[in-house]
Amino acid sequence: MNVLSVRLDEEELRHIKALAKKEETGQSQIARELINEGWKFYLLRMYKEGKLSLGSLAKELNMTISSAIDFLEKLGIPAPLEYEDYLEGLGLLK
């Protein structure tokens, strides 16, 4: 594992300490978990804003596309599809 020194403000440190106590684990473990959760949140936000494709999201999350669809459904994250996109496709199928 690599080592990275990070300066934290009072509130950030309080969050880590509180979670470590709650989960009965070390502060380093909690900090790593929060970084991973934050990364997922960032990717989901990028997807929701239409800046990341479903396939790229799945790849970054180490999931299959099928599992990513289920994951997005569970979280209720809307697909970045516009009503106009839907209207454009009507009538194209024979």
Partner: protein
């Protein structure tokens, strides 16, 4: 012939509509999309898609231009499967089935016509391959899985209720 990317293919497999759609449309996918959608065969949708490929209800096409594929991936920030499906549809001047917003943006730039999973549901309903009750039930499932906006779902419900295009 319609080229599918993994998003629409998987959505239709998950709601159990792929079989009836394969009876009315010629479905083609790239090798990359095949890998993306069948890599975990313990998943129900992966097994369905795999079986359709095995029985040639879904045709797998190999892409020749890998350089162009990489360029599309980079230019539009797409995964390999999405870029390969887009490239195939563009090269063959055919419709691309995709439920991915980023891929749809790329379609608009490249002038590729696109459809989403709901269009197939409406299509098989208009062709009387499924009845109104089943169409509404599938739409309800698709609403959650596809996470479409309310306006799209409301319009699709109206079309099913009216029974015409």
């Amino acid at each position: 012939m319609i080229i599918f990317d993994a998003s629409t293919l998987i959505l239709l497999a998950k709601i159990g509509l792929l079989k009836v759609i394969a009876q009315t449309q010629e479905i083609s996918i790239s090798k990359e999309v095949e890998i993306e959608s069948t890599c975990k065969l313990e998943l129900f949708d992966a097994r369905v898609i795999n079986e359709f490929i095995r029985t040639q209800k879904i045709k797998v096409v190999k892409l020749s231009n890998q350089t162009l594929l990489k360029r599309l991936q980079k230019d539009f920030v797409l995964a390999r499967g999405e870029a390969s499906a887009l490239l195939l549809a563009h090269q063959r001047q055919t419709i691309l089935a995709t439920d991915d917003g980023q891929t749809i943006k790329a379609c608009k730039v490249l002038g590729v016509k696109f459809v989403i999973a709901i269009h197939f549901l409406l299509g098989v309903y208009y062709k009387k391959k499924i009845n109104k009750e089943l169409a509404l039930a599938k739409l309800e499932r698709l609403k959650n899985l596809g996470r479409y906006n309310a306006k799209i779902i409301s319009d699709a419900i109206n079309r099913i209720e009216r029974g015409k295009r």
